[in-house]
């Protein structure tokens, strides 16, 4: 019961911060709120027993991506303090997108309805054993390099990272004379 209340509180916090991200005029404050929202998501992961994922969320999203975003804000300083409204004029399109995303998520949840009553009640899935939860990180590592599991996505991830770096340096870095 207490866990569920905490879960709801963290979810509300995450959503509220998300609202600040899109509604705040000050870009830096929006970035801060984004970090807080990431922090909330990490909290949700912890609540769901995905400790490694939560820490990866802190390390990558708060420690790296947010810093990247703030550096990007510093590069585009003219946008920093704008008096204009941060809202655009496409409520219809946004509404359709939001509703369809929600529909997809709801559909997935409906498909998983046999797992719904977690932990309590008749026919409910029992909570996972502690040793399984603690061993899940090593299991993940095993699957990353196992040819039967995720080895291809794992290697593709590195190629994607390479492409991302080369692409962004190509865009951001001033070209030398023989290239342009």
């Amino acid at each position: 019961m207490i866990e569920q209340i905490i879960f709801i509180v963290i979810s509300l916090f995450t959503l509220m911060m998300g609202w600040i991200v899109v509604s705040n005029n000050n870009l830096f404050h929006a970035a801060l709120a984004l970090m807080a929202s990431f922090l909330g998501v990490a909290g949700l992961y912890v609540m769901l027993d995905a400790g490694f994922l939560a820490m990866a969320q802190l390390l990558v999203y708060i420690g790296a991506i947010s810093i990247l975003i703030i550096f990007a804000i510093m590069l585009t300083r003219r946008m920093m303090q704008t008096e204009e409204s941060p809202f655009n004029s496409q409520p219809g399109l946004a509404g359709i997108t939001a509703v369809s995303v929600f529909a997809v998520i709801a559909f997935i949840f409906w498909q998983m309805r046999e797992f719904w009553p977690l932990g309590a009640g008749e026919g409910a899935m029992p909570p996972a054993d502690k040793s399984i939860i603690l061993g899940s990180v090593a299991k993940l590592g095993e699957y990353f390099v196992s040819p039967d599991a995720f080895v291809l996505p794992f290697e593709v991830a590195s190629v994607m990272l390479l492409a991302a770096l080369i692409g962004s340096i190509w865009v951001a870095w001033p070209k030398t004379e023989d290239e342009s």
Binding site: V46, V60, R77, L134, V145, P147, L165
Partner: protein, 118 residues
């Protein structure tokens, strides 16, 4: 939630008290007489010129970008390292491939002169 993380949760809740206490005492004990001159921001013996939030160069951004790449790499490698007893010799080749591809990223950045601080 398994009990391991409860400790961390308590830490998150209780830790703010520790900086709050001295700052609170300071607010009680210290004088509070703000004035215009006192609150002026510092700049090398003169009043500050222009806007503080100046535009920074692209260098910082690129460093942060390379950092993101290597950070994500670490996130992938940490579980493998933790499971190193259970993986086969084949894993070494995969890790090597993974690292070499990312070293190529570093080499590209190096070759383009991105890593020179100017």
């Amino acid at each position: 939630m398994i009990s391991d993380w409860r400790f961390i949760a308590f830490f998150v809740v209780l830790a703010p008290l520790f900086p709050a206490l001295p700052i609170g005492i300071n607010l009680l004990l210290g004088p509070r007489k703000p004035n215009y001159i006192k609150q002026q921001i510092y700049e090398c013996g003169v009043e500050t010129v222009g806007d503080t939030w100046v535009q920074f160069k692209v260098q910082y951004y690129i460093y942060a970008l390379i950092f993101v790449i290597f950070d994500i790499e670490a996130v992938f490698l940490f579980p493998i390292a933790a499971a190193y007893g259970q993986v086969g010799l084949f894993a070494v080749i995969e890790i090597a491939l993974f690292i070499i591809i990312l070293t190529a990223a570093l080499a590209y950045a190096w070759g383009r002169g991105v890593l020179e601080w100017v």
